[in-house]
Amino acid sequence: MDRRFNDLLKVLFHPHDYFKILSRDRYKSLKIRIVLLDAMISLVPLIIVVTISYFWFQSILKEDFRNQVKWQIENTEQSIEYFIDEKVSALRFLASSYSYEQLSDQKMLTDIFSKFEKEFTGLVDLGLIDSNGIQQAYAGPYPLTGKDYSNQEWFNEIVVRNVYVSDVFMGYRRLPHFAIAVKKQCPEKGTFCILRATIDMKILKRFASAINLRENDDAFILNHEGILQTPSRFYGDVLNKFKLPVLPTQRGVSVVDVKELDGGPAIFGYVPIRKSPWILVAVIKSNPYLRIPKIFRNELLLISILSIVISVVMTFLMAQTVVNRIKKADQEIEDAMAKTEQTSKLASIGRLAAGVAHEINNPLAIINEKAGLMKDILEVSDSLEQNKEKFLSLINGIAESVNRCRTITHRLLGFSRQMEISHETVDINDTVKEVISFLDKEILYRNIRLELNLQNNLPKVTTDKGQVQQVFLNIINNAIDAVKEEGYITVSSHIKDNHFVRVAIKDNGVGIPKENLKHIFEPFYSTKEKGKGTGLGLSISYGIMQKLGGTILVESEVNKGTTFIIEVPVNTMEVSKGGL
């Protein structure tokens, strides 16, 4: 039922069809715009925060790691320094506890050595050297008694200073050692002597190893010339030269980033060990601080993706709701407007009709009085002769009043015509030819070539001839305006199907650009210069065709031409055929 009803409506004029043409895509694009905008607004800060957090977190971890490295190095440094202090103190104690005689006594020294050894970890040997550099007594595994150290650098050094800690050197049996020596003043002899202890390098190594190392990391001790004092994992064995130039040392731990070391970045931490010739070095290539961020990153990614998905979904739902509301509201407004329009139209018609009824009173009254007067006169005097003039004038007055009545009621007719459709049998081809005949002069004047291709047995159509004529006139006129001089217009007619007949008007004029095509049927849309054309023609024609149950289609290409196709229903009333 509803569909037939709607078809019925097509027959009648509906002004809001204009707006419906315009608004079809509006809501979809609105939806898309809202979703995109919202998504951007909510996601951009999220992404910014996440990225900042990520890098910030990573830098914190890195910093933390570096601090760890620093502290470890520091701790180890302090341990080593403490160790050296300890051993130096022990030696000093020994030196001061025993006299030269005792110390230079081989047996005594050996005895001291064996006792000392138990407490002194890593002690390899103990020797007393006189002021000439000759080792007077020696306790230990090597035959070093009588060795002359006078030419050695350390000897010369310790003469000046009182304590000496040596670099690691390759001793007997090719084992790396280092030595600590203390100077003892021997007043009875009027000179000094040196108590020297050799310590296994392994002790140092133990310290270096104390630093927490991962796979690619390395920690070792260097001397100031860059010679390895302890074996390293990757940079050579003890007493090899360390490849990297040793950086200028300053007191305290330095942690430096090196961009390229063995194919990658590394953290290089080092500290000079006080009161020794050594530098503790750690080369950290591992990036445990990166591993955590990796986990963090995965979680972050997961949360981000989840947030994005939720955000987009929510945005979409919200946009949907909002746009639907808008659509609904717009619809309601349109409905209300339509309703108001219709009811006020109804009311205004009512007023118009009532107005006519009121106005007619006067002229009718006049006719009435004049006729009555004539009657009176006749009743009073039988002779018409005397009153001939009077009568003629009265009759005249009546005629005038009748005209007045006509004019007043005619207004009503004009208005009611708008609401009616007349139905007559129309020959479309004839109508086309008629319309063209109206425009003959114009066509000739402009030298336009007009070709007619009217299908022969076009069925007769039941519709409103006057209105269809108006439409043809409008569109053919437009075609004439579109082609320049010597242009070319074809008007053709053919059957579309059982229900419709088509009239196509094709011109080779300027054409209509694509963006404008969807607007041409809008009221007041005109590309003509100001003053030429109201822009109403096409919109009215479109409305008329809709009202009659047909439509107008258009195809166009700029500078090639335009084709308008007017579709006329074979039977305007066909929609409700069998319509009980």
Binding site: A357, N361, N368, E369, K370, G372, L373, I377, S401
Partner: protein, 126 residues
Amino acid sequence: MPHMRLLLVDDEVEFTLALAERLQLRKYDVRTAGSALEALALIKEQLPDVIILDLKIPGMDGIETLKTIKKIDPEIEVIMLTGHGDVKSVEEGIKSGAFEYIMKPVDIEELIVKINKALAKKNKEQ
């Protein structure tokens, strides 16, 4: 004969002239006015007995005119001329002192009856 002075007030001249003539044939003393101002001037000149007044005349509002007339001489009886659908005006008119009303186009017999009634009433009160 006395007390049968009528004043017709309507802006449709053709109408008033024809009707005036008809009433004169029936022995009434009739004058016509085409507007409220004209009417009031004529009234001042000579008081009519009954006024037949169209409510929709230019110048003053019909009801206003009615009230003014009643102020000038409350004993003048007024018959309102109306068209279709002037119900409200009629009600207001009666409230403002009009005696009767008659619809256009006018049935002369009916009008005569009403005029006589109005005259009778006026004479009674005198």
